[in-house]
């Protein structure tokens, strides 16, 4: 890698890590103008910056606000770089349909999982908040998803997850998708009870679980 490119990617990582969205956009444009590889800039610049922010989050130096702003910076850079990714340079990504279940609008945890899945190379279809069981199933079929990932923060809405599994079973679709669940009130026992394939207690564990479910092993 040329020292100029290496320097630029480091600066890009720093800009995300330091929560500087404007600088992230400027540097992403500079990557494009310099005809450097967009995927490398995403992977070694934007994603590296978010991962550094995530490490500080785990170490309780960064908290939710810092993580959200780092993610905003990353997405701002992605908007500039994504059109320039060379399609032949990567394999077909695994697909995840993700959302917060019907009746619940707490989506920060879901958004963190979405970001970390995207950073890890998954193609994520985010259905947002208050998603009905039927919407989960229909969208998963439509995009030929590998995984349906559902989140909730409320005990009153967690049974919607069981409804999704029931629809999949009734419509003989259960074997087509892995189902994973997460959220504060849930547990492995709950996941087992509703017939999901896995439960993750936090965002980083959700990525490991997703990789395991699609046979990609555990993230180092």
């Amino acid at each position: 890698m040329s020292s100029e490119k290496e320097e630029l990617l480091n600066q890009l990582s720093d800009a995300v890590f330091e929560l500087d969205e404007e600088r992230t956009k400027q540097l992403s444009q500079k990557v494009v103008d310099s005809s450097f590889d967009a995927w490398e800039a995403i992977d070694q610049g934007l994603v590296a910056g978010v991962n550094r922010a995530g490490k500080l989050f785990d170490e309780e130096e960064y908290f939710i606000p810092e993580l959200l702003i780092a993610a905003d910076a990353m997405y701002a850079g992605l908007d500039i770089l994504r059109p320039h990714i060379k399609p032949q340079s990567h394999g077909e990504p695994r697909r995840v349909v993700i959302g917060v279940v019907q009746g619940d609008t707490h989506d920060i945890g879901k958004n963190l999982v979405r970001i970390m899945l995207e950073v890890s190379g998954f193609k994520v279809y985010d259905l947002g908040r208050d998603v009905s069981p039927r919407q989960f199933v229909d969208r998963a079929v439509e995009v030929n998803a590998d995984i349906i990932a559902m989140a909730t923060l409320m005990t009153t809405t967690m049974d919607r997850m069981a409804d999704v599994v029931r629809i999949l079973e009734t419509e003989k679709l259960r074997d087509r998708f892995k189902v994973m669940v997460g959220g504060a009130p849930l547990s492995q026992r709950f996941s087992d009870r509703i017939g999901a394939d896995g439960y993750a207690a936090k965002a980083s564990a959700a990525v490991e679980l997703a990789k395991r479910l699609v046979g990609q092993g555990v993230v180092a």
Binding site: L19, E60, F63, I64, P65, E66, L68, I69, D72, G103, D104, T105, H106, D107, I108, N111, R129, M154, T155, T156, T157, M158, D159, P185, L186, S187, R189, F190, R193
Partner: protein, 360 residues
């Protein structure tokens, strides 16, 4: 092995109010008080829809009273849901028939940082949702206030603001537009002070304040102190001046007990996890049980949905044993609202656990 329903227990010597009052003073009552935070779940006792329960003071009061007769807990909590204050400041709220009301975050009252200026003080004695809660407090106090503890509820100003701006946007604004956030928090707080006092005047023995973001899972301690902690002291002082006790509830992970006590100085903290800096419940009890009364900390999901009644008994017994170091300063509860769809028999079993294992 005996089933839970066949276990016989000794008769109580104190009223619920006496029991709770003594525990809050670190004086050993006859047994550990129990307050399983049965709020939305109470509607099922009288077959009331959630949307009605959340908006009809008479219906909510009747169902809370009926649930107490059924379960036998020692204190009422008038937590309706976390959208109560938000609606009165202008937020559209959705009322599902069978689930907790919630803000419509597709239509936030504050859409941009400049719109924080839309926040104005309100009169909680007249606005729709807060006045409803005040009336629930009044109804409970009039019906049972001489026998049972009646605890009002106020969501903290930063929490209220998150309900009218959206959580993620508020958290980002804290860094990008701190002055605008602080101005709105201050305005909201003025109304919350009135709201808390009105609940005491309606008969609440205590008011529970919820500073949800005083938790290491959300904000840095200094950030919480700056954006909410300093604002909660005047609410707490107003409650005390009106003759009520101040209790804190926070079901977040890793609550900053030191900062919460510094700014609010409550007689008790209702919590779902060990305090920030305590690795487990035993360590938490060693660090904090003699400094502030613990209310908790049963797992609401497990108690409501997973555990058999024998498992509920054992779960409660473990907690009672751990908090024996508090020498009376402990109230058995779920760490968060009793699951609105949970098994109500489990709440009754918590009371039974106190009678079996919680005698002093």
């Amino acid at each position: 092995m005996s089933t839970v329903s066949t276990i016989s227990t000794r008769a109580d010597e104190l009223t619920s109010l006496e029991r709770v009052g003594l525990a809050l003073q670190y004086k050993k009552p006859d047994r550990v008080p129990v307050a399983p935070l049965v709020c939305g779940a109470s509607r099922r006792v009288l077959g009331i829809s959630y949307d009605r329960w959340a908006q009809d003071a008479k219906a909510a009061t009747a169902s809370l009273l009926a649930s107490q007769e059924l379960i036998g807990f020692d204190g009422f909590l008038t937590l309706v849901d976390l959208s109560v204050e938000a609606e009165d400041f202008g937020q559209e709220v959705l009322f599902p028939e069978n689930s907790t009301p919630l803000p419509n975050f597709d239509n936030p009252f504050i859409r941009t940082p400049d719109e924080y200026r839309k926040v104005l003080t309100v009169n909680p004695r007249k606005t729709r949702r807060m006045s409803t809660v005040i009336e629930i407090v009044r109804g409970l106090a009039e019906a049972k206030g001489k026998e049972l503890a009646v605890m009002g509820f106020v969501y903290g100003p930063l929490g209220v603001l998150s309900q009218i701006r959206g959580h993620a946007e508020l958290f980002k604004d804290i860094i990008r537009h701190p002055a605008k956030v602080l101005e709105a928090v201050e305005l909201i707080n003025r109304s919350l002070i009135d709201y808390a006092v009105a609940q005491v005047e309606a008969g609440a023995h205590a008011v529970v304040l919820d500073p949800l973001y005083s938790s290491a899972s959300i904000l840095k301690k200094e950030t919480w102190e700056r954006f909410e902690g300093v604002f909660m002291r005047p609410i707490a002082d107003a409650i005390r001046n009106a003759g009520g006790a101040v209790i804190v509830h926070n079901c977040g992970n890793g609550v900053y007990f030191d900062a919460v006590i510094k700014h609010i100085n409550p007689v008790a903290i209702s919590h779902a996890y060990p305090a920030y800096g305590s690795a487990n419940l035993k360590e938490h009890a060693a660090n904090w049980a003699k400094k502030v009364v613990s209310i908790g900390i049963g797992d609401p999901e497990k108690i409501g949905h997973e555990f058999s009644q024998d498992e509920v008994l054992e779960h409660c017994r473990e907690q009672i044993e751990i908090f024996r170091v508090a020498e009376g300063g402990f109230i058995l509860s779920t760490g968060c609202e009793f699951s609105p769809h949970g098994n109500l028999l489990s709440a009754a079993t918590m009371v039974k656990a106190s009678k079996l294992y919680g005698r002093y």
